[in-house]
């Protein structure tokens, strides 16, 4: 086992330690031992630091006093000191027997370790585009969706909250622009190495760091599902030393940011009078929106115990979050328990770890329709009758004036969700160079939903349904088995890491549901379906609408083989090659397998002599990568198979028999448009990058350019009908291109003992374009998307050749006629009435997804105070406030209330208090660019101020989320959906109000 021995070490001082590290195995000598004390940056003993002999599995861990001892074969070896939250250090022994080490907190120094998927790598040698956010940089305060933690922190990853602070809503995110026409191609979530996880399985407080593999060359190792990027979540693990107890807790509340200004009672009467309509004046003055909101109080607690001794460490935590929505009923109670254990055996060659995390969510859903309805309600209606029952007026406006408070109170929608993730990892080091790892994980999700509509709700009485209950269960079992071999070798100046592996994943989804009507008491809710009278009541004329049973099962399987080579020469020239061959069951019989390759290289210029002399450059690296990833995740199973069943949209029986001898038979026919040619959607991506660190690392950052082309776009396309049977077909069609620039800039502006100020800027520009939308499987010219409630065939956006995804498409506003009707431009540029507008007159009206996303985080510490301020901005997009379309229309008056802004209020003695309302138009509700607005905004998104108390380890803080906004948008908040489904840049009619959130919290360590 003779190794190279580097003798000629005549390089600059800067490179000496580095090259010593590279020397790796030196000729074996007599065993000896090294010991020392490890301290933190304040000089206090640091227990739990891992000390490993480079290139081997041999290691030790510092004890409670920070001391360590390690047997080493030679004093020419190198030791690696690592500890979560601190910069990794590699120190050559250099014939010493005592090495004391001071660990420095990790301010993203070069030695940062990056999680790259199936392994880790030093930041310095990474060649792909990978962003890392550590827990200390996470957004603080109340976090309902863990993706919120890194909002505005990763260049190119846009995270928005289209449903505001609804505790049951998730964020909308996209990496480097829309990644799929379906928009459902979210990044692959990998939790502690387990692909395909669900972020809601874990408590946000248990997350240690989040790494995002952005470009194709980095993500290709995950092949399938990696088109949306890969988000690698690393949870906290125990540290050596005595048990530590950490507690964090907060309490939080919300405040409405902006509300819709609809006609109040007096204005409502004025409008009715001016357009000669019945006001149906009931004499009240009701602010319906206020009636649907409350001041919520949410609180959360996390208690973690961790520690370790000898060869074992552990981390256990319980987490409780109690979220309350600012609507009347929305709530979520989240309980999570996590345990993980790492241990070594067989002379430290066997590394064993288990992780078990279990979360329970009890969700009560908000009534978005209630908020939509509040905009419809006549403001002169009271909420309740004198006897305390809810006021209803079914005779008015064809029943459209249903009471939203009654609807919210009398409808219960609940979901109890369990998510479990168990992982066992076994790795064995055969030699110092070769190790094998097997990991098995079992993820289980079980959702039990219930809904009940109270029999006191007017509609229940009118229809004779008289209380409607249903229950459904939906379970998903996810088995992942992966095995791999890892070989690390150093041959002189050549460093080599070779990985081969195998991955198997099977997901089984099953469930059932049932419903019943006609309950003579509301006491049961959905807990006693059998008590409803409708199930067995076959009296003619008896309403049985909600009586049903169903069940289902489906399955999908992925199989993959993969390999990766990471190579560098003298840590100057870097190469990373990965390959994955993957098969997916959901694809067509002949197209199940795909190959995904990633190649990237880097050149560390700062390790070259000619740069090394340039004083202000600490680090300079050029990167280039090209990678292919795939997507099949937006496909449901069985879309390639011709399946048969009852008509899917209705229990439709057919008559067979003679008059007086009826026989009703449930017919069977095709249930979908099958597409046997379904194949992989693939993304080919080029990434060019530059990493730099200047002026003693006071300024560092990276710049990336990418060009990604997504081919064979998978989507649920409007089918050609004929020859198909249903309106939609899953197909591969067309190509989409995203290109852009990303900049990360970090500055340590002030670094003094009592005053530190760091600023981090992330900026991303994205240009999205659909190159084509047709293929052998789909032949359309475009695909209409986004129905805002105007009905089918009146979609407001489309996917069309040469346009950005989700471009607005519709009529071009030209003015109104003298009697207030719409005028639109036809293709010849003439202003004509709407019935003169044909297909050729529709126009593209602008993109709906921001072209620029910017985030600036300032972190300041002064003495015991710390502060963090995040300003976030999105620029270059149009938004549609679809509420305007429905609530600026006098024709709808009575069925809906209208916006004050729908009128000009002209001074008129007949309308002394309000002015005479002059409608701005009288045309039918229809979409045109009249309703489009610029969506640009800048937000003061997160402000946190903390204070660490004089007695150690106790910090209190206050946080405000979504504090202030700068925008010209007329609606609530232009931070809307950023994916084409259900509609980018569109504020829908039914919605959840936006809030600013205030939180105070405490964290303590014992």
């Amino acid at each position: 086992m003779k190794k190279f021995n580097l003798k000629n070490l005549t390089l600059s001082r800067f490179l000496v330690p580095l090259l010593l590290l590279l020397a790796g195995h030196v000729a074996q000598a007599q065993g000896t031992s090294v010991r020392g004390t490890i301290t933190d940056d304040k000089g206090d003993a640091l227990p739990g630091v891992t000390v490993v002999l480079r290139g081997t599995a041999q290691g030790s861990i510092s004890d409670a006093e920070g001391r360590y001892t390690l047997e080493v074969p030679s004093t020419q070896e190198t030791l690696i000191f690592s500890y979560v939250g601190y910069a990794r250090q590699e120190i050559a022994i250099n014939n010493r027997s005592v090495i004391d080490v001071q660990m420095l907190t990790d301010d993203k120094t070069l030695n940062e370790v990056v999680v790259i998927g199936y392994g880790t790598q030093k930041r310095e040698t990474v060649t792909g585009s990978i962003a890392t956010v550590k827990s200390e940089d996470f957004i603080q305060g109340i976090i309902a969706d863990p993706m919120t933690l890194i909002t505005g922190k990763v260049a190119g990853l846009a995270v928005t909250r289209p449903n505001g602070s609804d505790p049951n809503a998730t964020t909308d995110f996209s990496l480097r622009g829309a990644v799929s026409r379906e928009g459902s191609a979210q990044p692959l979530i990998v939790i502690d190495g387990v692909p395909g996880g669900d972020l809601r399985t874990i408590a946000p407080q248990d997350i240690e760091s989040i790494d995002v593999l952005k470009d194709g060359s980095a993500a290709a190792i995950y092949g399938s599902r990696a088109t949306g990027g890969v988000v690698l979540v690393t949870t906290k693990r125990g540290r050596q030393g005595p048990a530590r107890v950490a507690y964090t807790g907060y309490v939080s509340t919300d405040q409405i940011t902006r509300r819709y200004d609809v006609l109040n009672a007096e204005q409502y009467r004025a409008v009715a009078r001016s357009i000669n309509r019945e006001a149906n004046d009931m004499g009240s003055e009701t602010d319906w929106f206020n009636q649907l909101t409350r001041t919520p109080v949410s609180h959360g607690h996390n208690l973690a115990v961790s520690g370790g001794s000898g060869k074992t460490d552990y981390y256990a935590a319980v987490n409780l979050q109690n979220y309350q929505g600012m609507d009347l009923v929305g709530a979520r109670r989240f309980v999570n328990g996590t345990f993980r254990l790492n241990t070594k055996a067989l002379s430290d060659k066997l590394d064993f770890s288990i992780m078990l995390t279990n979360s329970f969510d009890n969700k009560t859903f908000a009534d978005y329709y209630g908020f939509g309805q509040a905009l419809n309600m006549n403001p002169t209606f009271p909420v309740t009758n004198p006897d305390g029952t809810y006021f209803e007026a079914p005779q008015i406006a064809q029943g459209s004036q249903w009471n939203p408070v009654a609807n919210t109170r009398y409808n219960t929608n609940n979901s109890k969700e369990k998510r479990m993730l168990g992982t066992a990892n076994l790795s064995y080091a055969f030699t110092g160079d070769l190790s094998a790892r097997v990991s098995y994980s079992y993820a289980f999700q079980d959702f039990l939903s219930g809904s009940y509509t109270d029999n006191r709700l007017l509609y229940m009485q009118q229809s004779g349904i008289n209380g409607q209950a249903s229950r459904s269960q939906n379970s998903t079992t996810n088995n992942v088995l992966e095995g791999m071999l890892d070989y690390q070798k150093q041959l002189g100046s050549h460093n080599l890491n070779l990985l081969v592996g195998y991955s198997y994943q099977n997901i089984f989804n099953e469930g059932f549901g049932a419903g019943n009507n006609n309950f003579n008491t509301n006491a049961f809710l959905y807990y006693n379906l059998g008590a409803g009278a409708a199930l067995n009541n076959l009296t003619p004329g008896f309403r049985r609408d909600g009586v049903y049973v169903n069940s289902f099962g489906n399955e999908r399987t992925l199989l993959a083989y993969f390999g990766r080579l990471i190579y560098d020469y003298k840590e100057k020239y870097l190469l990373n090659v990965s390959f994955r061959r993957e098969g997916a069951s959901v694809l067509g019989a002949d197209n199940k397998w795909g190959n995904f390759v990633g190649v990237s290289g880097g050149w560390i210029l700062s390790n070259e002599a000619f740069i090394n002399d340039v004083g202000f450059i600490n680090n300079l690296k050029l990167r280039a990568g090209y990678g292919i990833t795939g997507n099949q995740n937006s496909l449901s199973p069985y879309q390639s198979l011709a399946t048969v069943g009852p008509f899917p949209w209705k229990q439709m029986y057919s008559f067979y028999g003679s008059p007086g001898d009826p026989n009703w038979i449930l017919g069977y026919g095709p249930t979908i448009n099958p597409n046997p040619s379904l194949t992989w959607e693939t993304k080919n991506e080029l990434n060019l990058g530059l990493d730099f660190s200047l002026f003693k690392s006071r300024i560092s950052g990276s710049l990336d350019y990418y060009d990604r082309r997504i081919n064979n776009l998978i989507g649920n396309y409007t089918a050609q009908l004929p020859p198909n049977i249903y309106d939609y077909i899953f197909a591969n069609a067309g190509q989409m291109r995203n290109s852009g620039l990303e900049l990360l800039l970090e500055a340590r502006i002030v670094s003094q003992d009592k005053f530190r100020w760091n600023a981090t800027f992330v900026g991303a520009q994205n240009v999205n374009k659909i190159v084509t939308v047709s293929s052998e499987q789909f032949f359309g010219a475009a695909q209409p998307i986004t129905d805002i409630g105007l009905g089918w065939g009146q979609e407001v956006q489309r996917l069309a050749e040469g346009q950005p995804v989700g471009v607005f498409y519709g009529k071009k506003f030209a003015g109104v006629t003298d009697n207030g009707n719409w005028l639109f431009y036809n293709s010849e540029g003439q202003a004509v009435t709407s019935d003169q507008i044909g297909d050729d007159d529709y126009q593209y009206l602008g993109n709906s997804i921001p072209r620029f996303n910017l985030g600036l985080t300032n972190t300041i510490a002064i003495g015991r105070f710390d502060a963090s301020i995040l300003v976030r901005s999105a620029l270059g997009f149009n938004v549609l406030n679809s509420k305007n379309i429905f609530h600026d229309n006098v024709n709808s008056f009575g069925a809906t209330n209208l916006l004050v802004s729908a009128f000009d209020w002209v001074q008129d003695p007949n309308y002394p208090n309000t002015g005479r309302p002059e409608p701005k138009h009288r045309g039918e509700p229809t979409f045109s660019d009249y309703y489009l607005e610029k969506g640009d905004y800048m937000k003061l998104d997160n402000v946190t101020v903390g204070y660490t108390l004089p007695f150690k380890n106790l910090r209190v803080y206050a946080t405000a989320l979504n504090l202030a906004i700068l925008t010209n948008y007329s609606g609530m908040d232009p931070e809307l959906g950023i994916n084409p489904f259900p509609g980018a840049g569109v504020e829908f009619r039914n919605y959840y109000p936006r809030t600013r959130t205030f939180t105070v919290g405490v964290s303590a360590n014992f």
């Binding site: 198997y504 399946t643 048969v644 026919g669 050609q720 249903y726 065939g793 009146q794 024709n891």
Partner: protein, 522 residues
Amino acid sequence: MKKNMHTFYRKMALALLLVSTLGINACQELDENVYSEITTANFYETKDQVMAAYLLPYGYMQEVVYDIHWSLATFPTDEAVATVKNGQGYENGRWIQFHQHTWTTSLDFILWEWFNVMRGIGFCNQFIAEIESRDLSAMDLPLSKEQMLAEMKLLRAQFYYFAIDMFGNVPIVTTVGEANPTTRPRAEVFAFIESEILANINLLGEKGDHGWYGHFTKTAAHALLARLYINAEVFAGTPRWDDAIASCDYIINSGHYTLDATWDAPFKVRNENSQENILVVPYDYNYATGFNMGMQNLPGAMRDAYGIPGWPWGKTVTQESFFRLFKENDLRINQWLVGPQSYLDASGNQQPVWGWWDQDGEQLVIRPQIALLNNPNGGYGDGVRNIKYEIERGMQDNMSNDFVMYRLSEILFLKAEALMRKNGGTATQEAVTLINQVRRRAFAPGDPDATYTTATLTLNELLNERGREFAYEMKRREDLIRFGKFGEPWWEKPASAKTRELYPIPMQIRVANPLLEQNPGY
């Protein structure tokens, strides 16, 4: 050293073995296992499965005819209009567009019609493709495979009839999934429908066979043929009067049908007992839902009068000029709700129906005059309401009356019309006799108005009489087009272009298949 290398390779081999064993164990075919689905390859294996497949396209007709097809065949005519009353029922201006012939290529109801009709064609195509190649001889089916296939081809021809009537120039597709069909001229579609009927008519069953009701029999196929031929000049440019007469004669001479004694018998809740109906779409409040004409037409205030648990929508009213076609002595005038409304309560006492909105606090009065098409503040009682399809006491949203597609009366009318057209537009005695057979039952015995003469039965009068006899039966649009009156101005409707006689190919459909040509004028 050598030993070291050996150990190394042994360990390497062991590790590889471990990993690959895992792989093989877990390795399985990527073929999909189905659980709550069944593929076509495993279906059509038993009698019940084949019957379920044969019946689905028939059941789908429930989804098609009411209310989308009915609406497209009715609202652009002078017989019905969905007015805005007290500002209610504007529905994005859809009904005003239908009334005034100002619809555009993105009107949702037109898109739904296209989807419905083309999906119906697809269901038939699918059944034919799956069954044609299978040997069903061992299954003991209640009807032969040949008859099933013939019925599906007739049902498909019926869907194509809807398509040629509404959209005119449409693709002719007989297989599922063959992409990029192109538009065929209307005459070619006509020829296709005709040839399909003629090629399969002799394989069909007949009224009285087991399972005949609601299915295509020989006589039902002739009724479809007669309709096709009477409109041949419109559809294909060449009149086919003799062929229309031949098909009518086939039905008349078959002896399977007689006129019901009363004009309203074909529309009763239990109209399966009608001796006049040739083809119906069976509906049932429970099994086969979707026929809710009562809810569409009745004012909400009438709910107590009929003991209706729901709240009728009161959408559809009838234009005054059309109502005025009916004389007081014509029993068929009873299909209209008009005047002050009252009802008998449970104890047999006369009770007034109390009005709503602008008639709030008063007895509901339904007036033939309609003040405004879009009435912001009134009009609750404007426009008579049709109750031709019997409204059962305690009616649900969904009615159990079967929807009449073809009935003997229409056959008599079609033959009479063909005879008159052949005769230069003048009635022959035979034509007069045919029409009088039907008209007579709508009058008291001996009423001189009960019969026409060759002098009084002009083509224009025939159109009016068709209006009286077939009101709300999806015939008026076809009639107005055939009689050249569809583009004429009427109440709240200016004259419209001839191109409005066809609906446009919906925008969304042409986006998905750019090879489809738009109809002229859109």
